[in-house]
Symmetry: C2
Subunit: 359 residues, 2 copies
DNA sequence: CTGAAAGCGCTTACAG
DNA sequence: CTGAAAGCGCTTACAG
């Protein structure tokens, strides 16, 4: 018995050998012709015969065999905590796929749920399949430790950075985003009554849902805001705290508390869209209109921005562009390790106007 | 020159041959031990030596070689129009991944953007890589034509059906969902003033954005609604049209028009959450409160439901369960071709109350 | 210009 | 009980 009798192949798939037989040439010749190798100077007649035979038989080379021989599989993996399975941040996959499309590579999507033993198992499984590269990503922007196994393949960090100096990373430019938000309000005439909504309570580094995720976004957005305001000769009037996750209900209660405190904001910079939507609800309950009585701007640029009236102006996470760039860097065999910061564009809604005359 | 000198391998990866050498046994023995084949009755001593050698060398078998030999790759592909890259429906990926996790299989995510030439290229690419099965999905529920290439591998349809009688498909139970929505309103005391919001204009089969997608959802939800209402001795008071896509702005204008028409609805069944949110906005503009003046229920169960106040009650698309079941069926080598309908649970918000006394 | 041969790293029927 | 050999379907240096 030979292998064929057990192999799941023999399912009718045509092999290179059969093409060679039909064309009356050697298998080498078929390989050379079909891979367009011109350095072998095959006769035009041979080429034609091979091509015709391949066509007639409907031949398509087996990639597994090719991979075993060449060591390159034409596949890339996106390994992340939750990117593949969470709607937020998911458009990073679209960006990755776009870049891979041009390179004719296939994508493995792998979510580890943040469990490191699962992560190791999956990384090993990918490496054993000879993946050409790995995009190691995070759903939210943060600092990660590079798993040892990751170094068995070329890799690029997506939406996260590491403390190692030899890595290539792609993250959104959150500092510039903070400045963009502040500038949008300054341009509209706001100055001394701008509040930020969404800092954590003292000692906390993030919500329970993401086990102390310590998002880079918060610190960097604040830094950009502070810089822009101080360049304009002012600063934040205050920072409202959010207890736990950055969601609608917490945004609502945070802003309700702020309004009840006697503070007199003219504009709110909300740490994300959900908090911004919560702010809308608190403002409405207090009889304040957006944007006439209060301007609001937030970060993320999610679908929530168009679910409210007036639509919410938001500094947008460039998820698709992040994914696209990460895949490009990986495929191009990026040389210089460094952090690439992708700009966060301002998506205009109708939530900003000049401050009320009374302030 | 042998192959090794050109192969990308020789990157330090340990092979089975090296394990055999270190353990002082044949390669067959190593393979048998590591694959737990007991029918060979290897000595306990041999087994231990092999296991220790493998451990010491950090051996992990190359899956590409295994695949070439056995014909099975331990991979599954999710091929769809937009599932992998759109936030809506994306949790189907999570369900698929959950099932694959148990089977220790890896997932290729492939989006075709609905382009059939791209689809063919990608399917061929997957088949050439010996995928064990393909989940062929659609972002929204509809009837698809099964591509010929798909038949080169076991496959299951996810969130779509075909006219072929030999296929296995998994879709949400939209008919029952319609009944669920109607029943929720009937139980609250609504009867003769229930309106549906979201039918297409005469002759249209869907919005421009999805090139006439002809969603099954619409017809089936309406059917379920009609059945439940008629069992209660009533029927829809009317059906409000939506011009194009089922989005917030169109929902708002549709309901605004309805209210201006002199109709006296006590409850609205909105075709999806976005339209429901639009309905909220139109109601608020008209000075009507949800749920005191008007009850609202919708379909999808998306994050939009918690972005409004009061939160929106919605019959939820079981995306995760759909994905999980499709992958399970694929892995279990499903036998009987049939359509599996997954229940759509009711996600309670606060948008339903008894009808106002005036009606 | 072309073909025979080796080899990628596995699995497995078969002979001892 | 174990080992040598064949084979999965390719690619490629090398000899003619």
């Amino acid at each position: 018995m030979d292998g064929r009798s057990q192999g799941q192949r023999g399912n009718g798939r045509v092999t290179l050998t059969e093409v060679a037989k039909r064309a009356g040439v050697s298998r080498s010749a078929v390989s050379f012709v079909l891979n367009g190798r011109t350095d072998q100077r095959l006769s035009a007649d041979t080429s034609n015969r091979v091509r015709r035979a391949a066509e007639e038989l409907g031949y398509s080379p087996n990639t597994t065999a090719k991979t075993l021989r060449t060591g390159s599989s034409g596949t890339v993996a996106l390994v992340s905590d939750f990117i593949g399975t969470t709607s937020f941040a998911n458009s990073m996959v679209r960006g990755v796929l776009e870049s891979l499309h041009d390179a004719d590579a296939l994508l493995y999507t792998v979510d580890t749920q943040g469990e490191s033993s699962l992560e190791s198992r999956l990384l090993l499984s990918l490496i054993n399949r000879d993946v050409d590269g790995i995009i190691y990503g995070s759903m939210f922007t943060r600092t990660v430790a590079v798993p040892a196994l990751l170094r068995n393949a070329p890799f690029v960090l997506l939406n996260c950075v590491s403390d190692d100096s030899d890595t290539t990373a792609v993250i959104p430019d959150e500092v510039a985003a903070g400045a963009t938000a502040a500038t949008a309000l300054l341009s509209a005439g706001h100055h001394d009554h701008i509040w930020f909504v969404g800092v954590f309570p003292p000692g906390a580094t993030g919500g329970a849902a993401w086990h102390n995720w310590s998002p880079l976004a918060l610190a960097e957005r604040l830094q950009g805001i502070d810089t822009a305001l101080s360049a304009a000769g002012t600063k934040l009037a205050g920072r409202a705290m959010i207890d736990d996750d950055w969601d609608v209900a917490n945004g609502r209660s945070s802003v309700a508390k702020l309004l009840a405190s006697g503070a007199t904001p003219s504009a709110l910079i909300c740490v994300n869209d959900a908090v911004g939507v919560g702010a809308y609800q608190a403002l409405q309950a207090a009889g304040l209109r957006v944007p006439d009585d209060m301007s609001v701007i937030s970060f993320d640029g999610s679908p929530l921005t168009t679910a409210v009236l007036p639509t919410l102006t938001s500094v947008t996470l460039p998820h698709e562009a992040l994914g696209r760039l990460a895949a490009q860097l990986l495929l191009s065999g990026t040389t210089v390790p460094r952090i690439h910061r992708v700009p966060m564009p301002l998506t205009l809604g109708h939530s900003i106007s000049t401050p009320p005359a009374t302030r």
